[in-house]
């Protein structure tokens, strides 16, 4: 095996992620190869530097504000769901009543009746189609998949 084969193992070695066999072979190679030994030393130094870097812990007041924002979003989420369900029910009922009224009214021309019925059914078809598309996308969306693990 050449240095090119061993180099990617440097990272796994530093992070303790190599198998016992990989580790033994890597150590044997590094003892004999000055170039890989130097790269190992440089990357070890870099890793130590990164390990020293930590995020500052937010203050209690900041954490409280942060949690309040998350909490508000959680509550609003339920609000939006209820609002959407309510809006759909009201719109469906309103559409049905409109069609019923227009169709039964003898004073309305046939052309207008056809127009209103087409408008309402078209809206329903578009809504169902969009809903079905959204559901299909959410099933194959790799960015949504993570939350299901």
């Amino acid at each position: 095996m050449s240095c090119d084969d061993f180099r990617p193992l440097i990272t796994g070695y530093l992070d303790g992620e190599l198998s016992a066999e990989q580790r033994a072979r890597f150590e044997e190679h590094v003892r004999a190869c000055e170039q890989c030994g130097q790269e190992l030393a440089e990357l070890r130094k870099l890793k130590e530097e990164l390990t020293m870097m930590k995020f500052e812990e937010p203050s209690d007041a900041e954490l409280e504000r942060y949690w309040q924002s998350v909490y508000n979003r959680l509550e609003r989420g339920i609000g939006w769901v209820l609002f959407s369900v309510g809006a759909i029910i009201v719109l469906c009922y309103g559409g049905f009543k409109l069609v019923e009224e227009v169709v039964r009214d003898p004073g309305v021309t046939v052309l207008l009746k056809v127009g209103v019925v087409a408008l309402v059914f078209g809206t329903v078809i578009l809504f169902v189609s969009l809903l079905r598309e959204r559901l299909a996308v959410s099933k194959v969306d790799k960015y949504a998949r993570e939350v299901k693990r």
């Binding site: 180099r7 990617p8 193992l9 440097i10 990272t11 796994g12 992070d15 992620e17 440089e42 990357l43 870099l46 890793k47 530097e49 990164l50 390990t51 020293m52 870097m53 930590k54 995020f55 500052e56 812990e57 937010p58 954490l63 942060y66 949690w67 924002s69 998350v70 909490y71 979003r73 959680l74 989420g77 790799k142 960015y143 949504a144 998949r145 993570e146 939350v147 299901k148 693990r149």
Partner: protein, 183 residues
């Protein structure tokens, strides 16, 4: 702590928001910091990390409380950040590494504890990396994820994680060397 977290997560699964509040407070600092490095903006990081916590809450019943919370949450956070970067670049179908992240250069390392000149330079060097290299550095060094956890989050084999992390560290080393050359 693990037992305590598992108990809190079990309470979350029954709809206990106060228990979730304890979890959020425990990880908020790490989440905002990681998102800040991924997005390059503190305001976006606050917003994205909060959105990730809301998504986590919505799917908490699917989560096994015996497992550690943060790696699972980190995968959600990463996806929220990637979506935002894609939206920002308007290249929704682009590979993650092709997304231009000009805003990243505007971020300052104010979220770092015990700052010094060298650490500020490392922060800037991380922000100058490609999004793909930056995210693996953030996952490994700033979110403390193992190779297995990163492989699960990124949906790639462990060997890919190792080679990607190696290349990311080499890029970071080069970036730092270039910075020192310019000084």
């Amino acid at each position: 702590m693990e037992q305590c977290e598992a108990a809190l997560l079990r309470r979350c699964r029954t709809g206990d928001k106060e228990a979730f509040g304890v979890i959020v407070r425990s990880y908020a600092g790490r989440a905002v910091g990681a998102a800040s490095l991924l997005l390059g903006s503190h305001e976006d990081a606050q917003d994205a990390s909060q959105e990730a916590f809301v998504r986590a809450w919505r799917h908490i019943r699917r989560f096994d409380p015996a497992r550690p919370f943060y790696p699972w949450f980190a995968a959600i956070l990463r996806n929220v950040c990637v979506s935002r970067l894609r939206r920002r670049s308007r290249l929704k179908t682009a590979r993650f590494d092709d997304i231009h992240s000009s805003a990243a250069e505007q971020s300052s390392p104010v979220l770092l504890a015990e700052r010094n000149e060298r650490r500020d330079r490392v922060w800037q060097a991380i922000l100058a990396l490609s999004p793909m290299h930056r995210e693996i550095i953030v996952m490994n060094h700033f979110q403390g994820m193992t190779y297995r956890q990163m492989a699960d989050a990124l949906d790639v084999p462990i060997g890919t994680v190792m080679s990607r992390l190696h290349n990311a560290r080499l890029s970071l080393r080069k970036e730092l060397a270039d910075q020192e050359h310019e000084l």
